[in-house]
């Protein structure tokens, strides 16, 4: 990825120099080797830009705000981020003219939580060599495969193609596409009894602290004022005062993004309690695919999404399979 980072910086410098863009939206190196923060760079500080296997943040949502500003911004988007970008273009949330998209190749994003689960804690540095991570920790050197510690979303990677890009950075050493079963866990849940499913979701959703990270990071959650923040809606709340509210928040949030969710997995990535929120979104995606035809939100920037279209012989409510009975 070092070669890629170098190439990104070169392209960015050139585009800044010739005036195509006046700033760059990318990731800034953090305190450690893994805590990169989204940041906007100019010619002076572009050196602080970093690109490695820890640049998880999907930058497309920032473009809603960035494209409202003066000038043109260079946005670094990984292949899967471009789906979110397209969806936002479709929803008229981003001014396309004000964004120059530079597609950056991705070999999968590592999840620090997964490193911790493997007992790799007290991380001091991480060296990446091909698909192998060598981690120096306070408690000795540890090794692991990048593939074993990938973010959930990378396990069902959408592939290396960019859905939108004005230019791309070439991948010097493309990796093989990981083909995990995207709906495997959804199916597993559907095979459980209703009681088991209820128990599963109750124990997951009861962890929710209602921090709104899932909502605020979600590119599909771009409402100016969320219904859960609107005192006039009757459902506004800042805490899950009752288990009902835990359920309601997540059901409604998943429903509001149904058909528009690109399955970018940011919700699960940011959840401090590790709730597998993508399993809610993927259920909707699976239902949509099976009942209304295969649909990938953000694969294009104009087609109407499934919940704003219909056919005369759509499946009747109650006939769609939510799970075994």
């Amino acid at each position: 990825m070092q070669a890629v980072e170098k190439a990104i910086k070169e392209k960015a410098r050139a585009l800044l120099a010739d005036g195509t863009v006046d700033r760059v939206l990318g990731w800034e190196k953090g305190e450690y080797c893994y805590d990169n923060t989204p940041a906007v760079f100019t010619e002076e500080d572009i050196d602080r830009l970093v690109y490695n296997s820890f640049c998880g943040a999907n930058l497309s949502k920032y473009l809603i705000a960035e494209s409202k500003k003066e000038g043109r911004v260079l946005a670094l988007l990984k292949p899967c981020d471009t789906y979110s970008f397209n969806q936002l273009i479709k929803e008229h949330r981003i001014d396309r003219e004000k964004v120059y998209v530079l597609g950056v190749p991705c070999h999968g994003i590592a999840d620090v939580e997964k490193l911790n689960v493997k007992g790799i804690k007290g991380i001091e540095s991480i060296a990446e060599d091909g698909g192998r991570l060598t981690v120096q920790t306070m408690y000795g050197e540890k090794e692991c495969e990048l593939n074993d510690v990938l973010l959930e979303r990378c396990l069902s990677c959408k592939g290396p193609e960019y859905m939108a890009a004005d230019d791309t950075v070439e991948d010097p050493a493309p990796v093989e596409l990981r083909k995990h079963d995207r709906f495997g866990m959804v199916e597993k849940l559907m095979q459980m009894t209703p009681d088991e499913r209820f128990e599963f979701w109750r124990s997951e959703l009861s962890k929710c602290i209602r921090c709104n990270a899932c909502r605020n990071v979600c590119p599909a959650c771009s409402c100016l004022k969320c219904v859960f923040d609107n005192d006039a809606s009757g459902v506004s709340s800042k805490a899950n005062v009752d288990t009902f509210e835990e359920n309601m928040f997540h059901i409604i949030r998943a429903f509001h993004v149904a058909g528009r969710c690109t399955d970018c997995g940011e919700c699960s990535r940011v959840c401090p309690q590790g709730i597998p929120l993508h399993l809610l979104n993927r259920k909707f995606i699976k239902d949509i695919n099976e009942n209304y035809g295969e649909y990938q939100a953000g694969a294009d920037d104009s087609s109407p999404w499934p919940l704003v279209s219909y056919t005369q012989d759509d499946v009747e409510p109650g006939k769609m399979e939510g799970g075994k009975n």
């Binding site: 620090v112 804690k121 007290g122 990071v217 923040d229 899950n240 005062v241």
Partner: protein
């Protein structure tokens, strides 16, 4: 000092739980949080931090404070009983124990918050010395010694035993009632304490310099141009606030149950856009002001009002959990130079 073998630890939990409700770090679906112990619970005392701090037990995320019955033009006020269940919380780290002192400053200062005080009086805090601090830890910056975790009873893990020592009278009384403990010598925890001290020396953030960032720094830091850059990626979520052991801002809201109006208070976050919104406008209009408020409060305003005590204990939760990896360490480093100018 007393001890109990780790292979008999569940006897110890049973004994504590027989005395009073016992809360300790439990693992549920991969996340460790304080929960009520019962036979067979998945206790995880090796986890360095729970996701939510133990403040939840003293200042719950939501609690009813009063209820009203509306009868025509009349209002009937009904206050809930003061919480009176005696409980013990085990596995509190030194940083979280200090955080309670921070919360005490807020809730036990006049006028005393009776809801918090009741829980504080009902609770026995049993701390646990750290064994494996992580790179996100910086408690020593605030003068916290994780080898002397404080609380009512302090405990240490060493050589297959859990060692216990009462710190307060309350703790002494609590330990006196527990039968399965054996007598032990103070020297027995020495190796563990030394090992911890050595690890502490390796922490990357141990030298975080807060010089200049104190109660007097308002003038220098409030107008800093760096706030805009630092806050740019902030999502405005409440993760840092809700997992923070010292954040204590709250909201008071009403819920109509159909039979009565329940007024409850719940955690709130200064990162939220509606935190300061009034009918005629919002004084903190953008995320820049809200972000600044959080860090100024922790590092400047709180020390100004509390004899220099920071409202940060270096637990590192926000360092590990911020969705965009922006945290108090980065802020302090960025502003440090400006503060020392």
């Amino acid at each position: 000092m007393q001890k109990i073998a780790m292979d008999r630890i569940s006897e110890f939990y049973s004994a504590m739980a027989a005395e009073r409700a016992l809360y300790l770090p439990l693992k549920k679906r991969g996340a460790v949080n304080f929960g009520r112990w019962q036979e067979g619970a998945d206790v995880d005392i090796d986890a360095l931090h729970t996701v939510k701090s133990p403040k939840d037990l003293f200042f719950p995320q939501s609690e009813d404070i009063v209820a009203f019955k509306m009868k025509g033009k009349e209002i009937e006020i009904d206050a809930p009983d003061t919480p009176d269940e005696p409980f013990a919380v085990f596995g509190v780290r030194a940083c979280d124990a200090r955080a309670m002192e921070v919360l005490d400053r807020v809730f036990l200062s006049e006028p005393v918050d009776t809801y918090y005080r009741a829980r504080r009086e009902n609770g026995v805090v049993i701390t646990l010395a750290c064994t494996a601090p992580e790179e996100t830890c910086f408690c020593s910056v605030f003068g916290i010694d994780p080898a002397q975790p404080g609380g009512d009873v302090s405990t240490w893990l060493s050589g297959g035993f859990l060692y216990l020592k009462a710190v307060t009278e309350k703790g002494e009384a609590f330990l006196a009632g527990l039968t399965p403990l054996e007598e032990a010598n103070d020297a027995e925890i020495e190796p563990a304490v030394r090992a911890l001290e050595e690890t502490m020396e390796r922490l990357p953030l141990k030298d975080l310099d807060l010089t200049g960032i104190d109660g007097n720094a308002t003038e220098k830091l409030f107008g800093s141009e760096q706030w805009a850059e630092l806050s740019r990626a902030c999502l405005g979520c409440g993760t840092c606030t809700y997992i923070c052991p010292t954040c204590q801002c709250y909201d008071i809201r009403d819920f109509d149950t159909g039979k009565e109006i329940r007024r409850y208070r719940c955690w709130d976050s200064c990162m939220y856009s509606d935190f300061t919104r009034m009918a005629h406008g919002n004084p903190r209009k953008s995320q820049v002001e809200r972000f600044r408020q959080r860090f100024m409060h922790k590092l400047v305003y709180f020390p100004a009002n509390n004899d220099g005590m920071y409202s940060c204990v270096g637990c590192g939760r926000c360092v590990a959990k911020c969705p965009i990896s922006m945290n108090i360490v980065k802020v302090a480093k960025a502003l440090g130079a400006e503060a020392r100018k």
